[in-house]
Amino acid sequence: MSTHHLARVRHTAPEWLFTIRSLRHSLRDGESLLLAIVLPVMLMLLMTAVFGGALDPTGSYVDFVAPAIILTCAGFGASTTSVYVANDLKSGIVDRFRSMPVRASAVLTGHVLASVLRNLLATSIVLVVAVLVGFRAGGTLLDWLGAAALITGYILAITYLFAAIGLAASSPESANGYGFILLFLPYLSSGFVPLESLVSWLRPLATYQPMTPIIDTIRALMLGGDPGNQWIWAVGWCLAILLFSVILGSWFFRRRTRR
């Protein structure tokens, strides 16, 4: 038995150690990883090849739909966060971290950061596939940086929301169920079809839900158009979702780890 003793200076932030841990989880979780890659490709091909012709015979439907597919896939990729978080609570490992001189909430930060990195990768894959099926980019470098920032912000916000759902859920299975509902939101927006083509009772919902300004802004930036003041709504929604999730998440985290 060696003679280390517990009092040590900490060199590495636990957040970083937990991010590495969560990235390892993503890599080992073969099915989720495969889905995270296959789903974007499938969705892109499905939308452009099957519906594309009918929706826009000129063939530019891919330009229209790419942002929605990016966000749909990001939402899907982020949703596994709720299951990871719920699993950690259930397995007792969070309690073990709590008994150590470590910020136990760093476990959540680790899951969130890993999810952001994972989903940025998935987003790159969607973009590559989009270009392969005929996506014609417009916009300046600055526009693209703006789009990238907004996509990252959206991924961060929705990941945090899923983390909060994982903390609120009573089991990993129900966490999975709650998360599923959120994944339909992009379909009820301006992402896949123009707002005007929706049935009238759906139009107000689609107009005022967060996905519409976010998708419109990303689309405008990527194609070199003018997002108008939609970008303010887009950024505002991302910040609002993030703030809401952080507050809700820390409340639930305190509740679940109450002494």
Binding site: M1, T3, L17, S91, G92, F97, R98, S99, P101
Partner: protein
């Protein structure tokens, strides 16, 4: 620290209820530094509850608990720096390999990357897990997982170690090996509080044993003290099938033995003679079968 603490753990009047169910009524005990202290008690007696309170995971409703000189409710960070906990159910990362788990815990404890890797290798060897070091924990057997769970608590030698049923699910070989490790830790200066359902384990390992019953410490002392508090030895007469035919209490002296034998012969009994000393099992059953109206038997207070 410049002074020597009198007690590594000091628990006074500890109370805890879950809803309307009062689990701990008034628990008092103390553990001296470097002692191995075993907490016994039936299922649901509250052993895990005590360990959770002492390791800052659960707040007590009343009473005081000091661990390594710090009060658990007031200075949880100080307590956490002194302790290591292996809980009753495994809390390991199933997706990581044994080695990755150990390195992660080492780094969380503040070791650098290389030091953490070196320590992981040492522990894998000590707990005979080298062959499984690179396999994810999902593929581990229950006993292997348990061993890793214990190793994770030892990445740095803790001042105080809490082990909640550490050897449940271990094969006899691994159990012996773990006993050796615990004894060595205690010799090196670690205080150990463990719970167990194996009375022979408490008998073999613990310097001090406490029996938790109906929310209180019903008896405590060394294994020898607890046994001698019972009626003492007896001479037993068994029939050929091994059944008990008669018994006679004795003080263990030559004269006492002769009195017992004379007694049997006087009654015209025949059979095989055996000298019986009470075991920790007898002590345990005696204590846990008492109802709370007859407490005060223990030498506590």
């Amino acid at each position: 620290m410049g002074w020597v603490m009198e007690y590594a753990i000091e628990v006074r009047g500890l109370r805890k209820s879950f809803g309307t169910q009062q689990v701990l009524h008034a628990v008092d005990f103390h553990v001296k530094p470097t002692q191995i202290f075993a907490l016994l008690g039936s299922n649901g007696a509250g052993k895990t509850t005590i360990i959770k309170i002492l390791s800052t995971l659960l707040a007590a409703d009343g009473g005081t608990a000091r661990v390594a000189g710090a009060e658990v409710g007031r200075e949880p960070e100080r307590v956490r720096r002194a302790i290591s906990l292996t809980g009753q159910s495994s809390a390991v990362d199933e997706a990581l390999t044994g080695e990755e788990n150990l390195v992660m815990f080492g780094r969380l404890r503040g070791l650098g990357k290389l030091a953490a890797q070196r320590r992981a290798a040492e522990l894998l060897e000590e707990f005979e897990l080298q062959d499984a070091a690179r396999k994810p924990l999902r593929s581990y057997s229950g006993g292997m997982r348990r061993r890793l769970d214990l190793a994770l608590s030892l990445v740095l030698r803790p001042e105080l170690l809490f082990l909640d049923e550490p050897t449940t699910g271990l094969d006899p070989h691994s159990r012996r090996r773990l006993w050796k490790i615990i004894e060595q830790l205690s010799r090196d200066g670690t205080t150990v509080l463990l719970t167990t359902q194996y009375l022979d384990e408490a008998d073999h390992l613990a310097d001090h044993i406490a029996v938790l019953h109906e929310g209180r410490i019903a008896a405590h002392g060394s294994a020898a003290q607890l046994k001698s508090a019972l009626t003492g030895q007896s001479v037993q007469l068994h029939d050929d099938a091994g059944g008990l035919r008669a018994q006679h209490a004795t003080d263990g002296s030559l004269r006492g033995l002769r009195d017992a034998l004379d007694g049997f012969l006087g009654q015209g009994l025949e059979g095989t003679v055996a000298l019986y000393s009470p075991t920790l099992d007898d002590v345990y059953f005696e204590i846990t079968s008492r109802s709370n109206t007859v407490t005060g038997q223990g030498e506590q207070r």
